[in-house]
């Protein structure tokens, strides 16, 4: 799937403005306290930033720019990146549950296999040697805890 750049740019502008608006009217008022003293309320600078997002997004929607040299967005990239990020999330959960020693080699293995690495030597380096080196450096030499 791919998207033609100018239309996508216009949509991005609208999306940015919508995010800013959501922050300005819904999130920030609920997530800040009001005080009857002081020079700058907790919500002041966040609201400024959110409304700036609204303004900048609308400007982008009105005069769409920024596709640079590309003609279209290749959404396959986004899908692959999402998959890799999913692996990282899984690894983080595993790390919390079983610790670095279990999760790190698995994450390295999954990432390397996913991006097409098949050479056994390099796989061994990435899956066993590097995590072992990191573990030894951090816990033995620096005496720092790992998850």
């Amino acid at each position: 799937m791919s998207g033609r750049a100018p239309q996508v740019e216009r949509l991005l502008g609208l999306f940015t403005a919508a995010c800013g608006l959501a922050f300005a009217v819904a999130v920030i008022p609920r997530q800040t306290e009001a005080f009857d003293y002081g020079a700058l309320a907790p919500a002041d600078v966040p609201l400024g930033a959110a409304w700036t997002m609204v303004g900048a997004g609308l400007a982008q929607a009105a005069r769409p720019r920024g596709q640079g040299e590309r003609e279209a967005y290749d959404f396959a990239v986004l899908r692959r990146a999402g998959l890799l990020l999913g692996l990282c999330v899984g690894a983080a959960m595993l790390m919390q549950w079983r610790g670095f020693v279990v999760a790190a080699p698995l994450l390295a293995a999954a990432v390397m296999l996913l991006v097409g690495e098949r050479r056994p030597g390099w796989l061994a380096v990435g899956i066993f040697a590097v995590p072992a080196l990191i573990w030894a450096t951090v816990t033995l030499l620096l005496a720092r805890p790992l998850p």
Binding site: E33, G38, R119, I134
Partner: protein, 510 residues
Amino acid sequence: MPDLAIIAAGLGDAFSPVNLSMAFAGVVLGQFVGAVPGIGPVIVMAIAVPFTFTFEPLAAIAFLVGISKGGNVGGAIPAVLINAPGTPDAAATALDGYPMARAGKPLKAMKLALYSSVSGDTFSDILLITVSAPLALVALRMGPVEVVCLMIFALSIITGLVGDSLGKGVAAAAFGLLCAMVGLDPEHASPRLEFGHFELDNGLSLPGVAISMLVTSEIIYQLATRSATAAAVPLPATRGDDDARLSRAEFWRCRFTLLRGGAIGATIGAVPGIGSSAAAFLSYASAKHASRKRRAKPGAAHEPPLPDFGKGNPHGIAATESANSAVVGANLIPLLTLGLPGNVGAALIISALLIQGIQPGPLLFAEQGRLIYGLFGLMLAANAANLIVGQFGMRLWVLVVRAPASVIFASSLLLCFVGVYSATGDIFGIKVMLLFSFIGVFMRFFGFSVVAFIIAFILGPRFELSLSQALTITNRDPMALLAHPVGIAFLLLALAAVYVFGFRRHAAQS
């Protein structure tokens, strides 16, 4: 005027074998951890501080300053090689360093970064040694009103760094500012945007956000876009000629950029709390501006054309590395004269001084003159060590990145996990890192400037604090600004920057 005998004694202490080897060891360690993505020099300094109590004071400081200086040089290496800066300060180095490395000149780019870094560092060290006392007095006059105006100027520079869409760039910066507001507000210490997480009281951790936006998301984006079984950094088959050499003429051509970078870095460093990332970007933006002007001049035609900024222009590397390194020396001006640290690294140096019974402050030069001049001598020695170690270090790293991208990037991902966990001490930090990795990938894919986000995120807390201070001090009276001419000057500069970088440039394009 300081006593010459004290200066001589201090320099004599500096060049004792023990102290020199401590500085050298610090530089080696600093360059190494600076170059490993995800792990910064600050963690190592924090571990080293309690040990320094058993050292002689000068050796202790030499070691820590060595780590800090080495880390500054090391951070540029992954920025150049894999577009993932080892420290946020080197984020701007990647803008031109990485394209240069992709063009088959990784060694040249790293050499330029190293020499620029050492030049900027030496420049600001000399400034520190000669004029720190008067400069400290000037810095003292910089009150909250002046600082908030300076911050507005620094934020306005972002408009010069975003790509071809001003709207997306400004939106990215505004989002960065918004993220910087998470946590307790400075005036009332009331929790904001925390969604019930106490862990966020101190805000989203800077290492967590910086590593995820600059490193993790970049790694994932690269893994998703390019062939991962090839070498991480392609080197030309014929080695040694144009890549390995950085000719004197090439370096000399950057002299004004270096000087400007040094001056910007030293100025920003002398004012505590703004930091080297801002200096690097200011310097980058001004070098870019200067190059446009130079090109417009007819006399410049006899020089061979350089790549555009963002496509491997050597001035881009020279500008950022000279500026971010110049901050390190100048940061010691408020540190030594006022006891004010400019960043966490400087705060760790203060604690090492304090546990030795040395109180930074106005009496330091009078009471500890010999130590201070010893420190100055060692700072210059550490710069020399940086040059030597860097020569070997960059060759080592070039060897390392000849491994396939799959190995390099998978290992870097693991290091991000470890680095964030060590910096935040919590699995929660890793969750924050993953969230911002998602955001970072999204922003990279759709062409939102990650750099604009990071500058606004780094400057945000100090901007809000200074704004709150300035509003209280002036009792919210806008006319009070008239009593602060320096502040007005910064505001005018900010307007000019927005006009020149923002509107005129974009008008010229359409």
